[in-house]
Amino acid sequence: MKKFMFVNRKAPYGTIYALESLEVVLIAATFDQDVSLVFVDDGVYELTKGQDTKGIGIKNHSKTYRALDGYDVEKLYVERESMEARGLGEDDLIVDVEVLSSTEMAALMAEQDVVLSF
């Protein structure tokens, strides 16, 4: 089993990256790999509560994060610096995450076998 990390650095709807990342995460989980999801920079916005996409005609994929534990994807990490810079706290996020400092995040990234960036 390899350690796969998915690094999410983009806001949810302005580009296709956030949705594509979710698709690949689910594929990796299907192959029983050790999957971690990381949210840094604008990627933290992917997890904000209260997203309502009716007005823009795009599927609200934020609910999918809550289904990830059904696929045994339970390692979700948020960089504290990115979260706080955006005025967000853990209570503003749609799922439970582990909040890491930049130093801790760097260490986690360094120990992966495969890092995929979105």
Partner: protein
């Protein structure tokens, strides 16, 4: 002139360039990922708090709602719907989109 910005101010320099080159009295409409600059936390880091003193600033409501930030709109920013978007384009003699 109406300026339109659709990128996050933390991801690209589009908004910074727009604010540097927009003249006093111009209008700025934030859409798509641009709306994060119109939130309370975003306004300070984006330089929008300063810009609000000299520009009329609007944000597209459906994009705020999609991103879960409609309730966090910064003071002084006006939320508009798609009809308001069209009105803004019609009201101004010209417009510029900062990609």
């Amino acid at each position: 002139m109406l300026h339109i910005v659709n990128k996050s101010h933390r991801q690209t320099s589009s908004l910074a360039s727009c604010l540097r080159l927009a003249q006093d009295g111009h209008a700025l409409l934030l859409i798509e990922d641009g709306v994060y600059a119109a939130t309370q936390a975003g306004a300070a880091s984006a330089g929008l708090a300063e810009a609000l003193k000299r520009l009329k600033v609007y944000a597209l409501r459906p994009d705020l709602e999609a991103r879960g930030v409609a309730a966090a709109l910064a003071e002084g920013v006006t939320a508009v719907d798609y009809t308001g978007f069209v009105d803004l384009v019609a009201e101004h003699t010209n417009n510029q989109t900062w990609l």
